[in-house]
């Protein structure tokens, strides 16, 4: 429905991701490379998952709608599992700084977001809006918000997952996989957008806080930061000898 909606939804979906890219990644070439690598690995996992789904659809009974829906759910679950195996490859890169995980997580998120929302954005440029067959008018808006959540979630999951792998805390790894599955399955609730968006945002916030702590942040640091006492903290640490 016109350029206004196109730009609005683009900014909503990719706003946080773009700002992260601009301020944290764009300056360092190595980080850009990791971003692209992350995006690439997400695409590979999607390719494998779609291959399995495609073959199973061909084998299955095309007439039965419930079977098709079941296969779709299976495909989504498989895709999630495959996506989670790829961060394990980061062992290969054996990076010493958590930041690289964040970057490749963001790469994951960018590509996942692009795939889920770009065709919707393309359609939103036209003069019409969704609804002539009775669907909800808020399709574009909720897709954009969902995409924003998914991009940020991929980033947080990357951080937590890597930390869990590093410290051999397997329940952390399992929690990431389970929450990814939960979020993906929540999308089956659409078109009841409230029941899919609200839990997703709750999960995103909790993952965000968890990732913050994993990355080394703490409530104390946050308070210091917010009350602008940081300079004193630094100076205080430079005790004169």
């Amino acid at each position: 429905m016109t350029a206004a909606v196109f730009f609005g939804c683009t900014f909503i979906a990719f706003g946080p991701a773009i700002s992260l890219f601009l301020f944290t990644i764009a300056r360092e070439p190595l980080r850009v490379i990791f971003l692209i690598a992350g995006a690439f690995f997400w695409l590979v996992s999607l390719l494998l998952a779609s291959l399995v789904w495609f073959i199973s659809v061909q084998i299955s009974n095309k007439e039965s709608a419930s079977q098709q829906k079941g296969l779709l759910i299976f495909g989504v679950v498989l895709s999630v599992l495959l996506q989670e195996t790829f961060p394990a490859f980061h062992e290969v890169f054996k990076c010493f700084f958590c930041f690289f995980v964040l970057v490749s997580g963001l790469g994951f998120g960018f590509m996942s977001g692009a795939f889920s929302v770009v065709n919707i954005l393309a359609d939103s440029v036209g003069p019409g809006t969704v609804g002539i067959h009775g669907d909800s008018q808020h399709y574009f808006l909720s897709s954009a918000f969902m995409t924003m959540a998914i991009i940020l979630l991929h980033m947080f999951w990357g951080v937590i997952f890597f930390d869990g792998c590093e410290k051999r805390r397997w329940f952390v790894v399992a929690a990431v996989v389970v929450s990814h599955l939960v979020v993906s399955c929540l999308t089956f609730q659409n078109p009841q957008y409230v029941s899919s968006l609200v839990p997703t945002y709750i999960i995103m916030l909790s993952m965000g806080i968890w990732a913050f702590y994993t990355a080394g942040g703490s409530l104390r640091n946050l308070k210091l930061c917010l009350t602008c006492k940081d300079k004193d903290f630094l100076l205080a640490n430079h005790r004169p000898r």
Partner: protein, 617 residues
């Protein structure tokens, strides 16, 4: 956007939409399956009034329909300029969807305005040309650039003609000793909407009668030695200020045609003849040219030939008793050149019997042509309707009159009879469906691709597109007046009887047609038809002379257009769109701010509380 039933498609409503408000973006008219009983004609009340023979210098009292209005139901809609697209919709499921969308979203409830989202429709009908022919022809860049782009193209097609006796067609100009009786009919019609042009009564009835008469005369003209030759002619583009007939007269004057005006003895034209009631047809003549003594004599002879021919048949002929001009007819263009004796046969005396002249309703119902229910298409093809019977009677009369006019003996006329089954098949092919087994056998394989399963479109269209009626008449005339030639396909395509023949191509034209499939195979067995049928370009002389403001010749052009389509969708309120944009910008700015803050304080936020190890002493 307005969607309306065809009952509202009247001049007053359309003028109101055109002039009243600038907010009308387009109109869609739902075409009903039944013709409106009160009639409808979007053409003018006085068709072709400025391009005929009557003017201030020729019969001024008869010009501009002063004595009689030919098309009283005409509302002139086809000649109004609309700056929004007007589409016609069939009354089917898609149209039902559009109406449902309106009912669901746009209907005001209890007098209050309907709420967003509202149902919207978009009609794409981009036309490149504007203003008039002179402007758009000037803007055409043909030949000046590497990729010639034309904005509009002149209307044109082909005139189909065949002399009853072979004539050297390669030699142009006057043919000594030849005297022709022109038997003419028109090939085209139109309606308000370009893709629909059924023209059953306005065009098909006349040309079918002439084709049937030509067939009836085939044997008689070959056997008898006639002093004059009958020249069957079908003019295209007569609706648009006589494109075809003006071109032929022009070619004759400039010696570009195998005969010239001195060879023409008289003209017998068959106009709209499908609706003659109480078996009476009317013979119209031009009172001004009849003031000339010799012309008057010839006209009287022609009329009496027609009256004699009608004896013993279920047809009676009569002249309108009053002094009135000729109705719109190709004869008028011949009279512009010089006074010819001529008669136009019509089924009305003072105004059209056709209530749907040049409209989308001029179909089988307009001709009152009906088939019993539950017939297969093949059975319908061979069923002889009442309309067919009347037209066959008329064709017999015309054939006999032509025979006598051409110098034939009265005693031989009783053998001349038109075939009713032939007439029914032709009516079926032009008015119902041309893609039938009979036509499939008569046409060439290239032309067979043009056959369709619905009524033929009689609109002339632009020159590079040959309309379906032209193709049908060409093949039909060849089949009905010509004969099978025992030649190979290669010889046939090269217009010769055998390898050494160099002469036949000047006299005859050869056409390889598909033929029928023998009973035990699916491959059609084609054969060669030798006839005297030819087609010449029917393009207005104004375009040859490049006089695009011509007052003498037709200057009609058709604009080039892009793909024509339409779609419906819902539109959201402007507020919601702006809200989305605002939200997006807010999210973007907030995240930019947050990220900047976080990245500049990153070392504080993400430190583990240990003293930095770099602080060595």
């Amino acid at each position: 956007m307005v969607i309306m039933e065809s009952a509202l498609f009247t001049r007053s409503v359309m003028m109101k939409l055109k002039n009243g408000s600038s907010r009308v973006a387009g109109v869609a008219v739902v075409v009903p399956s039944a013709n409106p009983p009160q009639g409808f004609s979007p053409h003018n009340k006085c068709p072709n009034e400025n391009s005929g023979v009557y003017s201030e210098s020729y019969g001024p009292t008869l010009a501009h329909c002063n004595t009689t209005v030919w098309n009283p139901l005409g509302n002139g809609l086809s000649y109004e300029e609309f700056d929004f697209p007007i589409f016609s919709l069939k009354d089917d499921n898609d149209t039902q969807l559009i109406k449902q969308c309106y009912v669901d979203h746009n209907r005001p409830v209890n007098g209050s305005d309907p709420q967003y989202p509202l149902c919207a429709m978009q009609l794409f009908s981009h036309m490149s040309a504007v203003t008039n022919t002179a402007t758009c022809m000037r803007r055409n860049t043909n030949g000046f650039t590497f990729s010639p782009e034309s904005i509009c193209e002149p209307l044109g097609d082909h005139n189909i003609w065949a002399p009853a006796k072979p004539l050297n067609t390669t030699q142009k100009g006057h043919k000594a000793g030849e005297s022709m009786v022109m038997a003419t009919a028109r090939l085209d019609s139109r309606s308000f909407f370009s893709e629909i042009g059924p023209g059953a009564e306005s065009a098909a009835s006349g040309l079918i009668t002439l084709l049937a008469a030509a067939h009836a005369l085939r044997n008689a003209t070959q056997e008898a030695q006639l002093s004059r030759t009958i020249f069957y002619t079908f003019f295209h583009g007569e609706t648009f200020d006589y494109i075809g007939s003006s071109r032929m007269v022009y070619d004759m004057e400039k010696n570009q045609f195998p005969i010239d005006l001195d060879n023409v003895h008289s003209v017998l034209e068959i106009g709209q003849v499908g609706l003659f009631s109480s078996s009476k047809v009317w013979l119209h003549t031009d009172p001004v040219s009849r003031r000339n003594g010799s012309v008057e004599e010839e006209v009287k002879k022609l009329v009496s030939n027609l009256q004699t021919a009608a004896k013993g048949l279920n047809v009676s002929v009569e002249e309108p008793g009053v002094t009135q001009p000729l109705p719109p007819s190709s004869l008028q263009r011949f009279l512009r050149a010089r006074p010819f004796p001529g008669v136009v046969i019509q089924d009305y005396s003072s105004s059209f019997a056709n209530m749907y002249y040049q409209s989308m309703f001029d179909n089988a119902d307009s001709l009152k042509m009906s088939y019993p229910p539950n017939l297969t298409p093949e059975e319908q093809l061979n069923y002889v309707t009442d309309t067919a019977k009347s037209l066959a009677e008329l064709a017999t009369m015309v054939a006999r009159a032509l025979f006598v006019q051409a110098g034939g003996e009265e005693s031989q006329v009783s053998a001349i009879k038109a075939d009713e089954l032939l007439v029914s098949r032709m009516l079926y092919s032009f008015v119902i469906a041309s893609n039938n087994s009979w036509i499939q056998e008569l046409v060439s394989s290239e032309s067979a691709a043009q056959l369709i399963n619905e009524t033929a479109n009689f609109y002339i269209s632009v020159e590079r597109q040959t309309s379906l009626p032209t193709v049908l008449v060409q093949h039909l005339l060849a089949n009905l007046t010509g004969s099978t030639a025992n030649v190979t396909q290669e010889d046939c395509k090269n217009q010769r009887e055998n390898q050494d023949d160099k002469e036949s191509k000047h006299l005859y034209s050869y056409s390889w047609v598909q033929g029928a499939a023998p009973p035990n195979s699916t491959e059609r067995k084609g054969f060669c038809v030798r006839s005297t049928v030819h087609g010449t370009k029917a393009l207005s002389p104004a375009f040859e002379l490049e006089d695009y403001n011509s007052k003498d010749y037709s200057t009609w052009t058709e604009s080039n257009w892009k793909q024509i389509k339409g779609r419906i969708f819902l539109v959201a309120s402007h507020d919601l769109e702006m809200l989305t944009l605002g939200l997006g910008i807010a999210v973007l700015l907030t995240s930019l701010l947050l990220t900047y803050v976080m990245s500049s304080k990153a070392d504080i936020l993400f430190s583990t509380g240990r003293e930095p190890t770099s602080a060595t002493y």
